[in-house]
């Protein structure tokens, strides 16, 4: 997989690219972009896959003025200009789904189709209940259960990571906290902008997702004119990691259909 550093909006952005075909812009989740995950190759088989590391993730720079997914959405619109991508299919996962939703609401004409995988980003539930549970108020084991149907398969042994890998992991976590802390996991403006995103949209959710509930996703999808929801079995929040084949099949089936 090709990796290069591009200067976009004044900051150095790490951008991965692989495959040939119609461009697919992939906007990663809070865990950062992991090029070796099996779903990546599956998507790149029939598509030109472009996957930047968000500012503050991987080796992408974090400018001191940036603190919201909304900011990142503007940077990615500029990245598309920079790469000459006039119109793409857009896939965003979790935190990346939030960024993708922001992008789609700002420049709907730049996106042919949109896939939001267990996205966060809107607040639609009651005032006295978090739409997304607080991942910083419970033990890590609990968070892992929300993320994975089978957490034991996905434990990271930090002792086996290089200094660089450890730094990336720690930095990714910090940037997630910065982006989601307040308001918790959402931009209050986004739900009033999403009606602009008129492209065909698919919401995907793992059936055991402990972070993004089925109700939440239904309310989210209702904010968009042409959205539908599909569920992937035997997966929790990290759908593409736990069920790469089913995930790739759903995404490509929708985009190519």
């Amino acid at each position: 997989m090709k990796k290069e550093t591009l200067k976009v909006a004044g900051l150095a952005l790490e951008v991965f690219e692989d495959g040939r075909g119609e461009p697919l812009l992939f906007v990663h989740s809070g865990g950062g972009f992991q090029p070796n995950e099996p779903y990546v190759a599956l998507l790149a088989k029939s598509r030109r896959l472009v996957a930047p590391s968000h500012p503050g993730f991987g080796h992408s720079e974090l400018p001191d003025w940036l603190d919201t997914p909304d900011d990142i959405a503007y940077i990615y619109l500029e990245l598309m200009d920079r790469l000459g991508l006039q119109k793409v299919d857009l896939v965003g996962s979790s935190l990346g789904g939030w960024i993708a939703a922001e992008m789609a609401s700002k420049a709907p004409e730049r996106f042919r189709k949109l896939v939001l995988v267990a996205p966060v980003g809107v607040k639609t539930g009651p005032v006295d209940k978090l739409d997304i549970p607080d991942i910083y108020a419970v033990p890590q084991e609990r968070v892992s259960q929300w993320l994975f149907r089978d957490p034991a398969k996905h434990t990271v042994d930090t002792a086996r990571l290089s200094d660089d890998e450890l730094t990336v992991m720690v930095r990714n976590r910090e940037t997630v906290a910065m982006l989601v802390w307040e308001p918790w996991m959402h931009n209050p403006k986004l739900k009033h902008r999403l009606h602009r995103a008129t492209m065909p949209t698919l919401f995907l959710r793992g059936e055991s997702d402990g972070l993004v509930s089925a109700d939440y996703l239904e309310r989210y999808a209702r904010l968009m004119p042409h959205a539908r929801i599909e569920t992937i079995a035997n997966a929790a929040h990290a759908v593409q990691v736990e069920q790469p084949e089913a995930f790739a099949a759903k995404v490509l089936g929708f985009l190519d259909g």
Partner: protein, 415 residues
């Protein structure tokens, strides 16, 4: 040397430790009995008055959603203390300005207290412990940047007297800052900052503020002070750092006998031993900074597993004394311990005495305050006037070896 009596105004009446996850953040406040709480406030206020009567200064702090310190609005407590005392300096250490979203309001509160106390305010600012972030709903990332922007703005707010000025910074925005009242002390009340990081202490030194550090022991304290002194000198404040720029907070209990002192000290250790906090509240991402977190992960490895990293170790009096976080014994013993610590860290001018905690009852607290004030404090004042120079190391090799440190010649950093 100036000494300060400090109590965290704890509410110690906890149910058995295995019935709750944490003493901070999520312990239901139904456990708090308002009548007992009111009696505790009465008592702690009385102890601050007694400290004043004994010639000791007064210190308080602020925490949120915790039994360890039931003073979530320390400026309110300060206002009360300002009116029931008349001579002592009153130190807040401090205002958690990275978690308070209105720095100008903090400047106003401090100015009011300075007037209410007729110019006795010492205004401290702290970054705050990690468990404060959730109660404050305050972002753990870029706290340091918020802290310094707020602090600089507060000092400007105190010292600007010609009508409104504006501030359009990275984190705070105001169009017309013009506080009433302004502080009594000119140009502004003394500023204290507590920090434990090298870069933080260097910055405090560059500003010339008073640097405080809590329970950092022999080596930690020395390295914080070294950073402060570097920052002070690099900012062109001169070669000599007076000791009154440096403060150390320790548990202190002086008894008329050694056994009474140890009994009192054992109760003070409640601060450390009751602090049951789960890892997820103690380590929010971003609080410690990337490099420090990576280093901690590498150093700790598999041993960091477990929900309550620092709970259940039951710190003992002897261990706490060895580490330099507790001074305890007869007056002569405590005097020697403080001297030894003073020499090791290169000198400090303020001893912040955590002289009450947990189940240390009123009479024992007062005994400790009086024994210190009457038997130890006069010697410290005489030996260490605030104008003495910090950073002159006098510890001999024999002294260092006696303490178990490998090598320490005069002026040799101990790393």
């Amino acid at each position: 040397m100036q000494a300060w009596h400090f109590t965290e105004t704890a509410y110690p009446f906890l149910p058995p430790a295995d019935t709750y996850e944490s003493v901070r953040v999520n312990l239901p406040n139904r456990i708090y009995d308002p009548d007992k709480g009111a009696a505790l406030y009465d008592r702690y206020l009385r102890e601050w008055q007694i400290a004043e009567e004994e010639g000791v200064e007064i210190m308080m702090n602020e925490h949120h959603q915790t039994v360890t310190c039931v003073d979530p609005a320390a400026p309110l407590m300060m206002a009360a203390v300002a009116r029931v005392t008349s001579k002592a300096r009153i130190l807040i250490l401090g205002n958690p300005v990275a978690n308070r979203h209105q720095p100008v309001r903090v400047a106003e509160e401090m100015a009011m207290i300075d007037i209410l106390s007729h110019g006795r305010l010492e205004a401290g600012f702290v970054r705050g412990v990690p468990y404060e972030l959730l109660p404050a709903n305050s972002n753990p990332v870029r706290m340091n940047e918020r802290h310094w922007e707020a602090l600089d703005l507060i000092v400007k707010t105190w010292t600007h007297h010609d009508g409104p000025f504006s501030h359009e910074g990275r984190f705070f925005h105001y169009r017309a800052i013009n506080i009433w009242p302004r502080p009594m002390q000119q140009p502004h009340p003394p500023v204290w900052v507590s920090t434990t990081s090298a870069s933080g202490a260097q910055n405090v030194g560059a500003h010339g503020f008073v640097q405080a550090t809590f329970l950092t022991g022999y080596e930690g304290t020395r390295s914080v002070y070294e950073s402060y002194r570097r920052g002070w000198r690099a900012a062109g404040r001169g070669e000599n750092v007076p000791i009154d720029r440096l403060a150390y907070a320790a548990l202190v209990y002086v008894g008329e006998t050694e056994s009474r002192a140890y009994e009192g000290a054992d109760k003070l250790l409640w601060y450390l031993n009751a602090n049951k906090v789960p890892r997820h509240y103690a380590t929010p991402p971003g609080y410690a900074g990337t490099a420090a977190t990576v280093a901690a992960l590498k150093a700790a490895g598999a041993t960091t597993q477990g929900d309550h990293a620092n709970f259940g170790r039951n710190m003992k009096v002897e261990t706490a004394m060895e580490r330099g976080i507790l001074f305890c014994g007869t007056p002569g013993q405590v005097h020697q311990q403080i001297r030894k610590f003073y020499k090791h860290v290169g000198g400090f001018g303020h001893l912040l005495i955590m002289g009450q905690a947990g189940f240390l009852e009123h009479d024992d607290t007062v005994h400790g305050i009086r024994m210190f004030a009457r038997e130890v404090y006069p010697r410290l004042k005489e030996e260490y006037p605030g104008t003495r120079i910090s950073g002159e190391f006098e510890e001999t090799r024999a002294e260092a070896e006696a303490r178990g440190v490998a090598a320490a010649g005069r002026g040799t950093p101990l790393g």
